[in-house]
Amino acid sequence: MMNRRSVLKAVFTGGVVAGMGVLMPRIAMAAWSKAAFGAESQEIAMGALYEVNPKASADVTLKAPDIAENGAVVPISVKSSLPGVTSIALFVANNPQPLASQFTIPEGTLANVSCRIRMGKTSDVTAVVTTASGSFSASKEVKVTIGGCGG
C-alpha cells in the first residue's frame, strides 16, 4: 500500500509543479472547464461551452464602460429578460484567454450579475446567456487605455 500511496503522491505533486510552469493548471476541476478557460480564441472557448454559436439578442443587456481607463478592473454587468436562464458567460475577444467568467444561475436566482474583469487591450466584450431554448448574446466594444493583462 505504501508503494501505491507514494506513486499517487508523486503524480499529484508532479501535476501541481507542471501546472505552475505553464499558463493553465493541470488539476481538473469538476465544473471548471479547462478547455473553455484555457482556449486562446473566442471561437474555441465558445465551442467548448456551447453546441451552437450564440445568437445576438436584444433581450440580453450588457452594461460596460465605453472607455476603460484601467484595463485591470473593468466593471461589467449582465442582465436578461429571457425566461429560464441557466448560465451567463463573459468573453473578451482580444484577451490571451477570452473566457473571463462564467456564472451558473440556479432556479430562483435572477439573471442579473455584476462582476469585474481584466482586459489586455481594446476589445469586444460578449455576454452569452444560456436558456433552455438556446444561447443568446450581446456585445459591446470597450476601449482600454492601459492594459491589465501584464506582459
Partner: protein, 104 residues
C-alpha cells in the same frame, strides 16, 4: 493558505436577497513577468459558490481574465434576515475554504 479573503454583504429586500461579494485576491494570470523576466506562476480563484439553506444560489467559474480582487453581485429570490450564506472558493492551486456571511 489564505483565510478569510471574502467580504460579503447580503441584504434581504422585498422577498429578494442582494448579495455582493468581494474577494481579496491578486488573481495572478500567469502572463505577468517579474523583474528578472521569469513568468509569475498563475494563482487565481477558479470557482466560488454560494449556498443558502442547503441550496446553491450561485456558482461562478472564473478564469485569469477576472480582475484582481474579484467582485460579483447577484440577486436571488428568498432569504431572510439572519440567514447564513456559505461561500466556498477554490484556487487553481487547489487551496479551498468556506466562509460564511449573515443576511442583513
Amino acid at each position: 493558505m489564505a483565510k478569510g479573503i471574502l467580504r460579503a454583504k447580503a441584504k434581504a429586500k422585498g422577498g429578494n436577497t442582494v448579495v455582493k461579494i468581494m474577494a481579496k485576491h491578486a488573481m495572478e494570470t500567469g502572463n505577468r513577468k517579474d523583474k528578472s523576466g521569469e513568468k509569475i506562476p498563475a494563482k487565481y480563484i477558479q470557482t466560488l459558490s454560494v449556498v443558502h439553506n442547503g441550496k446553491m444560489v450561485m456558482e461562478s467559474n472564473m478564469g485569469p481574465a477576472t480582475s484582481k480582487n474579484p467582485y460579483m453581485a447577484f440577486t436571488f429570490v428568498g432569504g431572510a434576515k439572519g440567514d447564513e450564506l456559505q461561500m466556498t472558493w477554490t484556487e487553481n492551486t487547489g487551496s479551498t475554504a468556506t466562509e460564511t456571511a449573515k443576511i442583513k
